[in-house]
Amino acid sequence: MAESIRMVDIYVMGKHYAVPEGLTILTALEYCGYRIIRGCGCRAGFCGACATIYNFKNDPLLRYDLACQKTVEQDMFLTQIPFFPAVKAQYDLQQIKAAGEQILALYPDIVKCFGCNTCTKTCPQELEVMWYMSDALRGDIREVSRKSFDCVMCGLCAARCPQGLVPYNVALLCRRLYGRYLAPLSNHLEERIADIEAGKCNGDVERLKKADERELRRLYAERDIEPAF
């Protein structure tokens, strides 16, 4: 595939650069000589550090994405948003109740949501942010958890909310409440922990710790394997 590399025109904080087609916003910045300190984390779309806002030369509409995942396009105007301060309620998860009112008690401002849907349009994970915020208003912890699960906590929703709300922290509260109080208990886990604490599992492990390599190799080769599916 000996095609010549096509170049794309981009603008970094207003300055023009030509970069090879196929770079991400992050690698394009590096290609232009920018050494990134803030605004770069896992480089794989999971950590939310590189949340970015961009638009195009002749199109002022703002777009939002993760710089490490978004491919550069012709005439993109790029900037970095290295840090955005956001409100976080402080709570002791073990002392609060998994009641719907809890959300409003810790984040009373959520009543100010006027449904503009900017948060949803902003989310680089394409989550239904405004809908889970209305679930939060109704106190539906389970629904907020379900709809927000893929959140990478980049904070773009909070950065753009005209009412100063912090959807991603509201969602985190709900997921933690769900995991702690509402998810059904795993009896087999509780039983195994009780057995370990009662010392019932020590013997077999002790024997393996003392076994020589030859014996371990034999046991390993002979172990039965549960089908994967």
Binding site: M1, E3, G22, L23, T27, E30, Y31, C32, G33, R35, I36, I37, R38, C40, G41, C42, A44, F46, C47, A49, Q69, T71, K88, Y91, L93, Q94, Q125, E126, F149, D150, V152, L172, R175, R176, Y178, G179, R180, A183, P184, S186, H188, L189, R192, I193, I196, C201, D204, V205, R207, L208, K209, E213, L216, R217, Y220, A221, R223, D224, A228, F229
Partner: protein, 554 residues
Amino acid sequence: MMYPHYIEESVRKVEATRERRLKETLPRLSADAKTPLLQRFHPDYVAGKMRPLAVGPNKGDSTPNEIADLLEGNSRIDPDKIDLSKVDYDVDVLVIGGGGAGASAALLAQENGANVLLATKLRLGDCNTVGAQAGTQAADRSNDSLAIHYLDTVGGGHFANIPELVEALVKDAPSVIKWLETLGVNWDKNPDGSMHELSGGGASRLRLHSAKDYTGLEEMRVLRDELRNRNISYVEFSAAIELLTDDKGQVCGAVLANLETNELTIVRAKAVVMATGGMGRLHIQGFPTTNHYGATADGLVLAYRAGARLIFMDTMQYHPTGAAYPMQILGQLVTEKVRTLGAQLVNADGVQFVMPLEPRDVVAAAIIRECSERHKGIDTPTGQVGVWLDSPMIDLIRGSGTVARELPAMVRQFGRYGIDIAKEPMLIYPTLHYQNGGIKINADGATTIPGLFAAGECEGGVHGRNRLIGNSTLDIFVFGRRAGRAAAQWSKQAKPGTPTLNHVRRWQKSLNDSGLAHQRPISPMLLPDYAKAIPDYLPSYTRESLKPSWMKLA
């Protein structure tokens, strides 16, 4: 359909053989068959890519050249220029690193009565933990046991694992799962509350606890929030660049550098927990990596310079399935969960060539053999070769909608570039993923130096010479908790002397004496340098005095 036309031809072959392969199970390799495969094709065995260390506690032990350069490196600071009497933080426990291990250590140290400071190079939670997708192992099902988990772990590690560490790993595992749930982690569960658990490479039971394919993200965002709720102090963009030691050789703090201003911060601490993670950004042997931006082995360098022993530094993990296409995500992780759910590895002709749930080193070596010796790989436009991971098999085996439900991160990541992984296979090739070895610890996370503890990827021994899936996100919590607790207890009786940088003076002297000082870089590395090199036009006679301060540190 975003694959180039000539690759589409191979996709057709994969589709044509799928029906037949659904009924085909390749056997697991015997121990005798694995050894030559690894020796001929695993990157750890490539001649000339490792060398014995010339200085330090592990002098004579082999490690990849990229790591050796940093371990033998020069300090970033001149001890004579630093006033250690001006202390910025004076705490019981300093935790270095803001990933899963560091956060766990900070929480447990505080619970055990210590005044804690956590210092991290990037943001709290910028770490390899967030990128972990598949899950966390814990033997909690009725047909499983701690002993079976132990056996799987040491078999995967080629029987080199330290028994006491494996015992701690498997024994703490169920309570770690429970601890995380108590903090609010949402595990995948069946309607009756039982855990929805999956198998993994080298595991003989269904033992992976997951949160879709966002497991590490879910774990990390909960721990980070808990740290904030408990008002544990943390400083971000503050990289540790040296440890502090007293006249007895005890570790008693660290020097931190503000990454943006280069201002130094002196932290005095009665105990230090090293939790700096891995080394993927060193790109050993030129491999791409799954690791986060800051994975540059800093903690290894600091601990080694202070006299800590390392273990198994000659074995790196290449994850079998890094993305080979498209180029935007080259080397990024394609979770092992894809194979766990049923996807096979197939070559350009649509033929299976390895049992997909062998341990990682074996699968990686088999893929490299398929592409090199057998010439059955698929060339991509960037020149990166790859083989197919046949993800569409998953919905055929487990029912329509499984891919969407179990792998939302992968669906989203490939969907961005027009590839629907429920319908089209993924092109993959091994990618640098994990440091199997690290700082030598005991079951409390204590290193060979008093006052220094280590947890997570920067420590070694528990995984032997090859880590299993789901044992790393377990390791960070098991040893993070143990190290945090032990560090707090140590701090109650420790009587550290005056903090010094004498070990750095001794280190530089040994580098000078051996003639290495001028041949080695400055370390720790802190961040990889991906920015296009801008030529330096300074005249040489002004270079030292005019260089920007960042360059002095770098």
